[in-house]
């Protein structure tokens, strides 16, 4: 049995359904991300795990124990909040030691544990400061230290990096992941930042409109998205509208604006109208072996890559070309594009009332 199990969890506010029948299993020691745009229900899910709100239906099991209706203060989970929610009237030591104090730990043992955790998040020597006197990054470390001080079995992170600048955020991704691995602590991260989710997670649950659109490893989620939402939310992609003409053993032949593309159907009963996807970095500029050709409408240099938009017969394609040193053709020039059939993905068009 999994360490944490959510079974049939829903949350309704009057007529509004925030969460619709979620099932989720988290293994011991796993780092799982709930990834999605704002309003997708990821924070609500986390708050139900933490016990701040009660689910309308379903059960939450932690280590074989039903905690659906257990008070948050009895759950013993470490929570890091988006605002950090530090206690402004207490020093760093007071903040980090608060959980231990609530458990009536002796002063000496408490001080020892606080020092230990502060060292873990590299804040030694700042124990006497007040939150106001710390930088944003330091405050976040205090929030993490405070959650870790109780040695919780489950760590919940609610968009903890969203108030940090980009560079610091990248550092914290690596550092937090390292701490999590070292302590082997089961962690759930809520984020809208796909890079963050990919960098840190063992598995990603892509959430959309109160449901889980996809649950898989970061690589699987990026390479083989199972829903239209997952394929467009995780990274950039080119979407081509077409119709299946024929289904072969491995491929489906899809007609896209008069051109036939061979798309692996991966055993799915592909027929009728479909969307064909290809990632910009899987499209390359080509000469004789070009599969499509067109005119470059925009060309942008972002350092490691060139981003091109090419108007072709099958639609406008985004192309990401690594910076090999020589610049690609200029805007307005004609280029050929090529790709491997294996890099094409296909999903049935969803109903208008669906999540397309």
């Amino acid at each position: 049995m999994s360490f944490l199990t959510l079974k049939g969890i829903s949350k309704r506010y009057g007529d509004f359904t925030a969460i619709e029948q979620i099932d989720l299993e988290v293994e011991r020691g796993e780092f799982l991300s709930l990834l999605g745009p704002s309003g997708c229900g990821k924070t609500t899910t986390l708050q139900m795990v933490a016990g701040f709100i009660t689910p309308s239906t379903g059960t939450i099991m932690l280590d074989g124990r039903d905690i659906t209706h257990e008070r948050p203060e009895k759950r013993g989970m470490g929570v890091v909040f988006q605002s950090y929610a530090l206690f402004p009237h207490m020093t760093v030591e007071g903040n980090v030691g608060f959980g231990l104090e609530m458990r009536n730990m002796k002063r000496a043992a408490r001080a020892e544990r606080v020092a230990e955790v502060l060292e873990l998040v590299r804040l030694s020597g700042l124990g006497g400061r007040y939150p106001k006197e710390l930088s944003g990054g330091q405050r976040q470390r205090v929030a993490i230290a405070r959650a870790l001080a109780m040695r919780p079995e489950l760590l919940l992170l609610d968009e903890p990096m969203s108030n940090l600048d980009a560079k610091l955020r990248e550092e914290m991704h690596i550092e937090l992941r390292a701490i999590q691995k070292r302590l082997g602590i089961t962690t759930i991260l809520v984020t809208h930042d796909q890079v963050e989710a990919m960098t840190m997670s063992d598995r990603i649950a892509v959430m959309h409109r109160g449901t889980i659109a996809q649950l898989s490893t970061p690589f699987e989620a990026y390479e083989r998205p199972k829903t239209a939402f997952a394929s467009t939310f995780l990274g950039k992609t080119n979407l081509l509208s077409g119709a299946v003409v024929r289904r072969n053993g491995r491929c489906a032949e899809v007609d896209v604006a008069g051109t036939t593309l061979k798309v692996p159907h991966e055993g799915r009963p592909a027929q009728g109208d479909v969307n064909v996807y290809i990632r910009p970095e899987k499209v390359r500029l080509a000469g004789v072996d070009a599969r499509a050709s067109g005119c470059i409408t925009t060309r942008v240099f972002i350092g490691n890559q060139w981003l091109l938009q090419v108007d072709t017969g099958i639609g406008r394609l985004s192309v990401a070309q690594p910076n090999f040193g020589a610049p690609p053709p200029e805007e307005g020039e004609h280029v050929g594009l090529a790709w491997s059939d294996d890099d094409l993905r296909m999903l049935e068009k969803e109903k208008p009332d669906g999540h397309a």
């Binding site: 933490a50 203060e73 909040f81 929610a85 609530m102």
Partner: protein
């Protein structure tokens, strides 16, 4: 274009703050200075205010136990009202803050509504409620809790009750402001760290609304120490506080210098206590709040 260039600012700051300064100077500063000057004038029963200057008014107020009792009574009243406003106002605000919408707005209006009614009207209302033949006493006797009316009008108890009612909205507003600034996640953080709701309230929420309680207390204290209408109407002519004593000197005995002296002493005492408290608060909360 606006710049931060000091040299070019010229007369603009003065002109812009001119109307406010004029109002402040004309309506507050000048009368205050005149009152201060008046308090040093000599007074004779037969000739009224004299041109000569003297310290005898101050000596009289400071040494005469009659005035001492009035000042002590006022201080007691102010402290009692402040304490009651804290005891009633803080929980009231916390309950209000937790209420769901439409009800929250409705209740807030009920709490702050009395501010829209004249103090005199409200105080007369209390007189009807608290009087010997008032609603409260009639009810108590009808229910056989007491056999004769409890004297509330013309007593300190009555004044404290009425003044608390008048001033509690100020405490509510002040605490409300700090509660609104409180990060709602802070409470959750306390819970997630294993604190019971009561402990979280005591260790996390209460310390953070303390500045609001303190500033509310300062407002309530200053207003109740200088309150006039409520003590005059509920306390009557016999149960004097400083403000009514000053009034009586001005209007009753026509001893203006003595009235001015009492007023100046009240002002000094009030400013000293209020400044002391806020200085204390500033030092205490300096490195905690922005």
């Amino acid at each position: 274009m606006a710049t931060l260039d000091h040299d070019r600012a010229g007369a603009a700051p003065w002109l812009l703050s001119g109307p406010a300064l004029l109002l402040f100077g004309g309506l507050l500063l000048v009368p205050l200075v005149l009152t201060l000057v008046l308090s040093f004038h000599a007074f004779s029963d037969s000739q009224g205010t004299l041109a000569a200057y003297t310290l005898s008014n101050y000596l009289k107020v400071v040494t005469d136990p009659y005035y001492g009792a009035i000042f002590a009574r006022t201080a007691g009243l102010a402290f009692a009202v402040t304490a009651l406003c804290i005891v009633l106002g803080v929980p009231e605000t916390i309950v209000l803050a937790r209420m769901k919408r439409p009800w929250q707005s409705v209740c807030l209006l009920i709490v702050l509504g009395p501010l829209l009614i004249s103090v005199v009207v409200r105080t007369l209302g209390w007189q009807i409620l608290l009087g010997n033949n008032g609603v409260l006493n009639n009810a108590l006797q009808a229910l056989h809790f007491t056999s004769e009316p409890i004297r509330l009008v013309f007593t300190m108890t009555g004044v404290v009750i009425a003044l608390t009612h008048v001033l509690v909205p100020f405490m509510v507003m002040s605490v409300w402001a700090t509660l609104q600034k409180l990060d709602p996640q802070v409470e959750w953080a306390g819970l997630s760290l294993g604190g019971s709701p009561l402990r979280v309230f005591r260790r996390v929420v209460l310390p953070q609304i303390l500045p609001g309680v303190l500033s509310g207390s300062i407002i309530v204290f200053a207003l109740s120490a200088s309150a006039f209408a409520t003590p005059a109407l509920i306390g009557g002519r016999r149960l004097k506080v400083v403000a009514t004593a000053a009034y009586d000197e001005f209007i009753g005995t026509l001893n203006w210098p003595l009235g001015a002296t009492i007023a100046v002493l009240l002002l000094i005492a009030n400013v000293a206590i209020v400044m002391g408290c806020s200085r204390l608060a500033e030092r205490r909360f300096k490195h905690i709040f922005d």
